[in-house]
Amino acid sequence: MATNPSTYSPSQSSERKQLQQQRRRLFQETDWTRFDGRGFQQCRPAFLKTGAASAASGSAFAAFGATKVIVSVFGPRESKKAMLYSSTGRLNCNVSYTAFSTSIRGQSSDHKEYSSMLHKALEGAIILETFPKTTVDVFALVVESGGGDLPVIITCASLALADAGIMMYDLVSSVSVSCFGRNIVIDPTSEEEACQDGNLMITCMPARNEVTQVTLTGEWSTAKINEAMELCLDACSKLAEIMRSCLKEAASAPS
């Protein structure tokens, strides 16, 4: 388990292995309760707030259970790289994890691809023609990683963009589901994600009923995919409602 040769945690790793084995057996059964007491189709409570970083044009903070993310948006600013005139703007996304975001220090998974996935999720929603020749920078910082990181990052980034006043066709919200045998569990935590059989993540624009990004891993039957997608889309639209009320609240603050 050691990522760094000079550290090791002897008793912790053997404990963890035991717990994992226990859980795997648990997940294979048909009926089990989730560790945080949620039902299979219940998402974590979402806490969203705009205006977290004062130096940025727009920013947002999202806390979904144990997953906490800050996103700041800078721009539109002049594109630093000398580029030919382009009639559309540029979007630049960057996702980084803090060293203390995971319980084992320094271990952060796959976040290099998260930057490009965030880009793909957002570029369909932003009206790039409104800021030609300039760049919008989106920086996401995962402060605490508790599972379902990428959906939370995408949701928080969309909120930060709306806070920054960038024109968008619609708010983007994202939800993921895990499958365990025959059960479909929405909004998994990191422990559940570690033992999942498959994962489906959907990013969509709820008011326009358009899906901007879909990723699927594992073995799924068509019926299960249908069920999972319906579940996700429903959760996405509810999440968008929460985002909307958060923005309305921020907009009615006195000036």
Binding site: A66, A99, F100
Partner: protein, 287 residues
Amino acid sequence: MVGLSAGEKHFIYGGIAQDLRTDGRQRLHYRPISVEIGVIPQANGSSRVRLGATDVIVSIKAELGRPSSLHPDKGKVAIFIDCSPTAAPMFEGRGGEELSSELSLALQRCLLGGRSGAGAGIDLSSLVIVEGKVCWDLYIDGLVVSSDGNLLDALAAAIKVALCNTGIPKTTVNLGASPNDQPDVDVSDEEFLQFDTSGVPVIVTLTKVGRHYIVDATSEEESQMSSAVSISVNRHGQICGLTKRGGAGLDPSVILDMISVAKHVGEQLMSSLDSEIAAAEASAEDQ
């Protein structure tokens, strides 16, 4: 970092000479400090310190490790600073690396003492569990959320506050059958020992602009500096570390003068920090 015109630079320089800086402070005055503890629940200790518009978060994690063969009776401490792009777009990718490594090195120098381990702000021998075999490794991670000058002082203050908030889990050791066996260490989840922070120093950075030095420079004032000296002072008035930045040469008498100024300012900073920590702990208990 925005450039300044000659007129603005002249104005700042004049203000410092007249003891009235652009935000109304005197030369040896710190910006208002605000302190929060326990901001990272999954860490052993954490803090967030705001010094004007500079905002930093420090998290401390303790993991079991092996002591180095040179010092079998001491634990290990590692300090890493990260400048996140949320502070400034130029920190994206490798942009913040130089600044991060410079800050990490300066903090290590000030807090970890000499090679023999003497004079360290953090008492490393309290981190050992089984001599030569098992000790605690402390990882101190600092994150710069927003930068408006004087990062070093803010980070050092945040580390001090985080250490006050740190609890090292109690351990029970079962020694193996033969002395060469790796002992089995049982880490308690319930009981924690508070870390002893009486020896942890604070850092006072004195920035020389023209003929005068100022404390707690904003990023505008930092762009004006000829040189800066960061002095680490502990509770007993002793100097625990010194780093000089900037290209201009300094007269040795100036450096000695700076040290005495730093001692005086460090005392005040230490006491205001202590009262902030007490207030933060009190409000944390209320919640």
